[in-house]
């Protein structure tokens, strides 16, 4: 394994690990706050139990997210000193703001977790709201920094040195809005459906359990709307790609030749040598229609770039199709649930819907990972698109396979432990017998 590949792998593992906890840290506090608010309004202790359980889960996941985020902030320098030396002054701004947002989140999470008996109910709920807001803000700031890597603006490069730096313009890169919107919605959809899926699974076995009914309801309120809106934000993101990062879109769609009236291809096996996508399902004109809202628009293919500037077409194409497929499934299930709720059906008795939701449990997170594969692998061989190649940014230190394996092992162990703790602490049904038989008719 070359040092470059080891560094990329370590960064990839670190990001793939951290993103799970970051996503949960954005959406989980919202559910916690909704549950607590319902407890304050209705007085049903079941909501308090939910809020406390979700808070415990948030505590575990936030702690792992905080330390894995620390690792990432250091790894920018440990693995990519060439990148940070060049880009630090341009995109340090969103990172600094993220630092403050994260700080606020940590402070109010401390207040929330340990303050149940120390502050007024209103202040406690306010602390939860502060956690939810600053969590979303810190996620958005980090995505802004990544957006700049995809669509770099706000500087000029003269003889290898950056001049005329404008950090504000760099934060407002063309990719900023599409990426931030897509990622924020993804966080709510993935976490909402993961939680809803677990409780749907448990409801299938124990349909009268009021605890799981309430949990399912709140999780769907957080995840459902986001899943429904996600295809729209995906469209915005794809149209951004078509204009600003055409090679990434071409790889995602395995579109080898630039053409008018380009078809949308689903699946298939990209044959790089032959320059075609074999065995794919093609929908004529659909790609032009989606990318430019015009069936005859010209879509740039991979042939626009030199061969050594192509990303890994297989990985990007499969990741993209996987993300779209999973996102579509979540949107359809969300629409189904919304339709039934609108018809005033009791969702907890819709066994087929519950099965569909239970099936969705891991899908949001897999879609998030696949989406980041598209973003990050699709930008290669560049670390800053069109400006700096990844291989020119890597640290000169040899033997990078050692830290890669060390951190991978560390994260594997942590991942297993976290799953086990969550299972034991959060997911098991409450043992309080009266809630098992305590039937609360569904309002939704």
């Amino acid at each position: 394994m070359s040092d470059l590949l080891a560094a990329r792998s370590q960064m990839g593992v670190s990001l793939a690990f951290h993103i799970v906890f970051a996503v949960v840290g954005i959406a989980m506090p919202v559910m916690m706050v909704v549950a607590e608010r319902r407890w304050q309004v209705t007085g049903h202790a079941i909501y308090l139990d939910l809020a406390r359980r979700w808070a415990r889960g948030t505590a575990i996941l936030f702690a792992v997210g905080a330390v894995s985020g620390t690792v990432l902030s250091f790894e920018l320098g440990l693995l990519w000193p060439g990148f940070m030396g060049l880009a630090g002054s341009i995109i340090g701004m969103p990172f600094s703001l993220e630092g403050f947002a994260f700080f606020t989140e940590a402070i109010f999470l401390g207040v929330y977790l340990y303050g149940w008996d120390r502050i007024s109910p209103r202040a406690h709920l306010g602390a939860g709201v502060a956690v939810a807001l600053s969590g979303a803000a810190s996620g958005i700031f980090v995505v802004l920094a990544n957006a700049w890597m995809n669509a770099p603006t706000g500087f000029e490069l003269v003889g290898g040195r950056v001049v005329n730096v404008d950090p504000v313009a760099a934060m407002a890169s063309p990719a900023a809005f599409p990426q931030a919107l897509h990622m924020t919605l993804a966080a709510y959809a993935a976490t909402g459906f993961a939680v809803a899926g677990i409780h749907a699974f448990l409801l299938l076995q124990d349909p009268a359990n009021a605890f799981h009914r309430r949990a399912l309801e709140i999780a769907l309120i957080v995840g459902g709307p986001a899943a429904l809106l996600q295809p729209i934000s995906g469209d915005i993101a794809a149209r951004h790609l078509a204009r600003h990062q055409p090679v990434k879109l071409a790889a995602a769609e395995a579109l080898f030749t630039t053409q008018r009236g380009a078809p949308l291809t689903i699946g298939g096996w990209p044959d790089i040598a032959a320059g075609e996508n074999r065995f794919a399902i093609e929908i004529p004109y659909a790609l032009s229609l989606l990318a430019f809202h015009d069936p005859h628009a010209e879509v740039t293919g991979l042939d626009s770039a030199a061969r050594d500037l192509w990303p890994n077409v297989h990985a990007v194409h499969f990741s993209f199709d996987l993300m779209v497929a999973l996102g579509t499934y979540l949107a359809l299930v969300a629409a189904w649930a919304a339709w039934l709720a609108w018809r005033r059906r009791d969702l907890a008795h819709q066994r087929w819907l519950l099965r569909a939701i239970a099936l969705a449990t891991p899908m949001g997170f897999i879609a998030v990972e696949a989406g980041w594969m598209v973003t990050e692998l699709g930008r290669q061989p560049w670390v800053i698109y069109g400006v700096l190649r990844t291989r020119d940014a890597v640290t000169p230190m040899p033997g990078l396979i050692v830290p890669f394996l060390t951190f991978t092992l560390l994260y594997c162990c942590l991942g297993v432990i976290v799953c086990w703790l969550l299972y034991r602490q959060i997911l098991r049904s409450p043992a309080i017998p009266e809630w098992r038989g305590f039937y609360m008719p569904g309002r939704s």
């Binding site: 702690a63 920018l76 402070i107 401390g110 703790l421 602490q425």
Partner: protein, 338 residues
């Protein structure tokens, strides 16, 4: 003073806060490991109780320092990441183990046996991480992290030798003892009952004296390994007053401990450790990374520095009241007399 100097100062303030707050949390882990005597379990409980609400926030001071460093002084960050890759990676592993073990310990809902394992992991990581942080600081202060190198230099000479020598180890030891000292002093104020307080007073006094020893050792070794900082610390115009103040704070802290003036001890100990840190910073000024990377040379363009300062002002407006609230809720003054 230039804008770059100001921002370097702000970064150092963040590091100072990390040492006083996050450092004390590390120290707490050390005392959890060394818990002994009839109140062993109570000592551990007190430590966990004191750290619990604030430690995530305390940790963020480090992240703030890092992001400000790479925003305002990108070449310095790039160089530290390259040449101190190994100790910094080890620090990260320590931080990961410590942070997760603490949460698993407190929130894992484990039974006794497993709980102890998490407690031990937390405590051992608390012991190793400050040592490595100190080693990293020692490497920077010694001037071994310099830029231009012959490309044929051996791996060990470039990536190991700068941070592994008697001086850096003595700085690591000093950091560990300083953090343990801070934690013990703070815990005298947190303890609710007299006996527990006496436990930590004894530990604070022992650590306070050990701190003198560790400081003397580091100073002795600095003559050979860190001449630049040593020169500053001894010959600069501010040196004598600074040492006088540090000594006064140290003596005040020890006397206050002996006389059970817990609040005075806490403030004096915090001042003592801060003054030592600022002595290091002044000793290597105007260099960010001695002997060749000055603050002015490493600084980002002025527009970035101005915006970073603006972001700091904005962030502080949100952060300081929030922090004040956090500490008011959970660290409300001296405990009621037992």
């Amino acid at each position: 003073m230039t804008l770059a100097d100001l921002l370097a100062g702000v970064i150092f303030v963040a590091l100072n806060a990390y040492a006083l707050l996050g450092g004390a949390d590390f120290g707490g882990g050390v005392w959890a490991l060394l818990a002994s005597g009839p109140r062993k379990q109570h000592q551990r409980e007190l430590i966990a109780h004191a750290i619990g609400p604030v430690w995530e926030a305390n940790h963020v001071w480090l992240i703030l320092a890092v992001v400000l460093l790479f925003t305002c002084f990108p070449p310095a960050f790039a160089r530290l990441g390259t040449l101190l890759h190994i100790p910094l990676s080890l620090v990260l592993i320590g931080i990961v183990l410590r942070g997760s073990a603490f949460t698993f310990w407190r929130y894992g809902g484990a039974e006794d046996e497993e709980l102890r394992h998490w407690g031990v992991t937390f405590a051992i990581a608390s012991l190793i991480t400050p040592l490595l942080l100190g080693i990293t600081v020692g490497a920077i202060a010694s001037g071994a992290v310099f830029g231009a190198r012959d490309p044929d230099t051996a791996f060990v000479a470039v990536y190991v030798a700068p941070w592994l020598n008697p001086f850096t180890l003595s700085v690591g030891l000093f950091a560990l003892v300083a953090f343990a000292f801070l934690a013990a002093v703070y815990l005298t104020l947190e303890a609710q009952d007299r006996e527990l307080r006496a436990d930590f007073r004894g530990r604070a006094l022992a650590a306070g004296f050990a701190l003198f020893g560790a400081a003397a050792l580091a100073l002795l070794l600095s003559g050979r390994y860190a001449p630049l900082v040593r020169g500053g610390l001894i010959f600069a115009s501010w040196a004598i007053p600074l040492h006088g103040l540090t000594a006064a704070a140290a003596i005040t802290a020890l006397v206050a401990l002996a006389r059970a003036a817990w609040r005075v001890a806490r403030i004096a100990a915090a001042i003592q450790v801060s003054l030592i840190l600022w002595g290091w910073a002044l000793g290597q000024y105007p260099y960010l990374i001695p002997p060749d990377l000055a603050i002015a040379d490493a600084a980002a363009p002025a527009v970035t520095l101005r915006l970073a300062l603006g972001a700091l002002a904005l962030g502080a407006a949100v952060l300081l009241p929030s922090l004040a609230y956090l500490f008011r809720v959970f660290k409300r003054g001296p405990a009621a007399p037992a």
